[in-house]
Symmetry: C2
């Protein structure tokens, strides 16, 4: 049934989050929030202890109602995973099972590969107190373990969902690792920057700052390197012209070279 | 003062977590838990609204008492960051400031680089309701933004701390991305595996499974590939010998080749 009538929109492609016998409605809600933070919307609940729907789940979801409203209630784990081609199981303790283990980062690559092939994946989470049942673990392809402080590695349910969802999201994200936010202005070009260097150095020369002629070239290079690291914008270069003018008490008097 | 008498043990090397005017003790506690999950222990609190120490923080820390007990109370952000060489600021909204922006993943690389050079880093978090003050943002080297669902990106304080701490932890973690947990046994070697192939294929030949002689070689290759993907252990190979024997009703009758 589930196999021929897919539960989830494969266009989204992220893993289904499957909570087995979750105890607290509040935890279902915080999981839903963490899911939506990461663009995940396919929540499946197997025998939630306090019934479904849950007012405390809704209160804790902080607006992630779409996830709760579309959550599927299942009687068995087998039913909840029927349409999935690769199932991950989260488990803190190893149960002596012989099983592939992945980090969330590696698993996210696998999820993305499956999604690109048009296949659906899912992640099993056990009850808060006990974790997954061994029989549910044996239904999974791969165990997930999160590399964390080994002497204090216990995460609550929503945090575990967040880390896995976060890794999934990163595999599809194109944000550059670092960039300069320049708002409405733009980075200065080198002509603007060198023009400022000339202004500053001419004022410094005129003021007697370069007391040692032989050291002047290396001092100039040092100061230029400081300003290079600033990554100034065009607007900020003008501000610095103004700073020099204010400190000297005059507008730029030397001609632009 | 702080500069000459470092607040933190540089051996740990992870970033200090600096909460500016945190409102709820509970949030301080869940942040402490998330910190210790990631091996971070240097917590600094600037003007916590409900005073310090806090019973509700301790209750929410789930045992991360070491972080709370060593937390430093500061009057100003300047005091809290005095000994740090690179300060990151977490902010959901861009305030029109011209600032370097990094993802947590890239920032973690920077933190690790600073730590390797013996330098300390820290991450600023603003009050839950408003986020960081603009003047605190201007004290930071770099803004951090977490790539998440742009239409639902709000994280609570502990989750933001967790994602940044998690990325820090990963830069020093050597867990292989994927491996097979084999417990007390070991992966089968190829002699053991080929020996099982022989057993299975001889029984299949004897039972008439290979009805088409010309297809037999390709069928054997297909079956062998299935078992290759199983990554069987030595113990499991013996189990499969037993399975074949049970299905045929006899112990292996063909001699090992």
């Amino acid at each position: 049934m589930a196999g021929t009538n897919p539960m989830r929109e494969s266009v989204l492609g992220g893993p289904a989050i499957i909570l087995i016998e979750p105890q607290l409605g509040e935890n279902i809600g915080t999981c839903a929030r963490a899911m939506l933070n990461c663009g995940l919307t396919d929540l499946r609940l197997v025998r939630p202890r306090d019934g479904w729907p849950s007012g405390s789940a809704k209160a804790a979801a902080s607006g992630a109602d779409i996830v709760l409203d579309n959550a599927r209630l299942c009687d068995t784990t087998e039913e909840a995973i029927a349409d999935l081609s690769h199932v991950f199981a989260t488990t803190a303790r190893n149960r002596g099972m012989i099983k592939r283990i992945m980090t969330p980062r590696e698993a996210a690559v696998e999820m993305r590969a499956q999604s690109s092939a048009g296949l659906s994946t899912g992640v099993l989470f056990g009850p808060e107190r006990t974790g997954l049942f061994n029989d549910d673990l044996a239904l999974a392809d791969t165990s997930l373990t999160v590399p964390l402080n080994p002497s204090f590695s216990s995460l609550n349910l929503a945090q575990a969902v967040l880390l896995i969802g976060y890794e999934w999201y990163q595999t599809g994200d194109v944000t550059p690792g670092r960039y300069l936010h320049t708002g409405a202005t733009r980075p200065a070009n080198k002509e603007e920057l060198v023009n400022f260097f000339d202004h500053l150095e001419q004022e410094l020369s005129g003021s007697g700052f370069f007391s040692s002629p032989e050291k002047k070239p290396s001092m100039i290079r040092s100061i230029r390197n400081c300003f290079q690291r600033m990554d100034l914008t065009e607007q900020e270069v003008r501000t610095f012209h103004g700073i020099v003018s204010a400190l000297t008490g005059r507008k730029r008097v030397y001609p632009k070279e």
